[in-house]
Symmetry: C2
Subunit: 343 residues, 2 copies
């Protein structure tokens, strides 16, 4: 449920699919949010999300072990449930591997799934296996339960504050390290471990999502899979409001900054466009922010940082510097630069 | 939810996954049947199944149009819901295509999905799209509703009759035609259309599954995806009973027989091991068979043919000829002989 930046004709297709889903029975929220929200016959609200991970598009086997692949494939789905404030429950795992794959590798893949799944009470209830003529292909569908009203992308209003959990750009920093032949000089082993773990084994914010959804005052929420610029634009578009982000307020960790300096990258660019951080981006009533920040810190130990505000005006995202001048930032998450992407 | 014939080590892994799922909360049936059966919070029973289709493993683009791929990817999942006697509801579609794919092709793919989906009130409620470094990859997860107690693979008892809907081997005959450079001589255009449609656009037996599940007397049910020999063995193993099939009673259509003769294939081999027929295989109390056959015919127009019986003894399947002698039949469904399969 993390569509990449679509082309114009693809947008028309997605619109048509959304329109169909909107009219379907039992579909509270169809295409266009992190999860579908479905009305189960007994009256409960079911969340459903699916993600496809493909070798050399979403990961490389050179540095992603089978257990990392399993962990991350589940994590990206768990994060979608987290962003709706839901509780993950049941996973269906489809795996295709080349003929050279060993049983040990397949077992390690499932160990990675269970390592994360056990932390969040996710049960693997079904799946499919297949041969693959080229690399690994993983599809996970995750079902969850909405314990309250799911927090959608569409609820932000002009005047709301914009905030993010944790810090940004770590996964992109990790990817930059992993894609190199050699570790960058003058970066501590600890910093390297922090950023590579963020890329290979992201920790979706389930506790945080449920706490925030239940706390009141959160108007919209989304997980940061494609990068702040892209994901916040989704919120702005779905909410029909403008978003302004102060670049100076973006939370960026010391490890990320160290790696950026050592590899001659821009840490702010990673924070806005790097993607795959799997932090939560939310909007809230300004009066609620302090309560949410303090309460989230007490309940989960996770930071919440205000980074901007929703404003009246056309849907879109503006990044401003310390002087309040608009600054262009790069596009959202791009997969490997070799460009196997369809869009 | 159609695992191919697993190797021994894979069996151990599947057993471990099943054991884990069995202990998980809310999981009525986990790994090991056509669908998972899940207890939604409101008390309703949810069915969930997932299938991965990969170019040059499960289909070839030379003869499968994008709309055919979409139709079949949904059909194999709908068939899993049908075999539990359930009602299909919501689909999540993941699609990866190479860079050369056009928007028209993607639209046609969705048209194929909707063409079948509309027949069964299936709504597309979510999905994911990605680039693919090689061919098309499609994963569909389908959620359904169990309107009564789902009919499992494990309920067959010694003495039960074994029966199948429709006729067998058509899809394999279609594949044999499609894989040739030229249409076989001395086969009518109508016969060719029947068998190729069976392969490219199978029609899952949803009405039949629901009618049979509600009728009473059906003890086990499965859909014929991997072929009679393999799928009946699953029933025998899950039910811990032996199965005997009279080869002479297998329903095989005239078109399938014509194609077999023209292409020098064995129609009975297709019927037992060809796979992808997406008919229903069931066991029932002997006293119920006539009622089920007549009732199913009246309600749906679909035939039900008795092909054998469950017997005491070790779990397994025996095929016998007209003299009652055991006959060896080939293995179940194999994907393309080029052998990209993992097992």
């Amino acid at each position: 449920m993390t569509p990449r930046e679509p082309r114009l004709t693809e947008l028309a297709l997605i619109r048509a699919l959304r329109e169909r889903a909107r009219q379907a029975p039992g579909v509270r929220v169809g295409i266009g949010d992190d999860c579908a929200v479905l009305e189960a016959p007994g009256g409960s609200l079911l969340l459903a999300t699916t993600d496809l991970l493909i070798e050399d598009v979403h990961f490389r086997r050179r540095y992603a072990e089978p257990a990392d692949i399993g962990w991350k494939a589940l994590a990206v789905n768990v994060s979608d449930i987290a962003s709706m404030g839901g509780r993950p429950r049941w996973a269906l795992i489809a795996l295709a591997c080349p003929a050279s794959t060993t049983m040990d590798e397949v077992e390690a893949f499932y160990e990675g799934i269970h390592a994360l799944g056990d932390e969040h009470d996710v049960s693997v209830v079904g799946g499919d296996t297949s041969a693959s003529p080229s690399g690994w292909v993983v599809n996970i569908t995750l079902l969850g339960e909405a314990t309250g009203a799911p927090i959608l992308r569409s609820g932000a209003r002009a005047g709301d504050m914009i905030a993010v959990t944790g810090d940004l750009g770590r996964s992109a920093a990790g990817l930059a390290v992993l894609e190199r032949r050699e570790a960058p000089a003058r970066v501590s082993a600890e910093a390297l471990a922090i950023v590579t773990a963020a890329h290979l084994r992201p920790r979706p914010r389930v506790k945080e999502g449920r706490w925030l959804a239940a706390a009141g005052g959160v108007t919209a929420m989304i997980d940061l899979s494609d990068g702040l610029a892209t994901d916040l634009r989704h919120v702005a578009e779905e909410s029909r409001a403008a978003a302004r982000v102060d670049l100076g307020r973006l939370p960026i960790g010391a490890a990320t900054r160290d790696v950026a300096v050592a590899t001659k990258h821009d840490a702010v660019g990673w924070a806005t466009g790097g993607g795959e951080d799997y932090e939560l981006l939310l909007t809230c009533e300004p009066s609620a922010f302090e309560r949410l920040r303090n309460g989230l810190g007490s309940a989960t130990g996770t930071t919440l940082t205000a980074i901007g505000a929703m404003e009246p005006g056309a849907a879109g995202v503006t990044f401003v510097d310390a002087d309040g001048h608009a600054v262009a930032v790069g596009p959202g998450f791009e997969h490997f630069a070799s460009g196997a992407r369809r869009e």
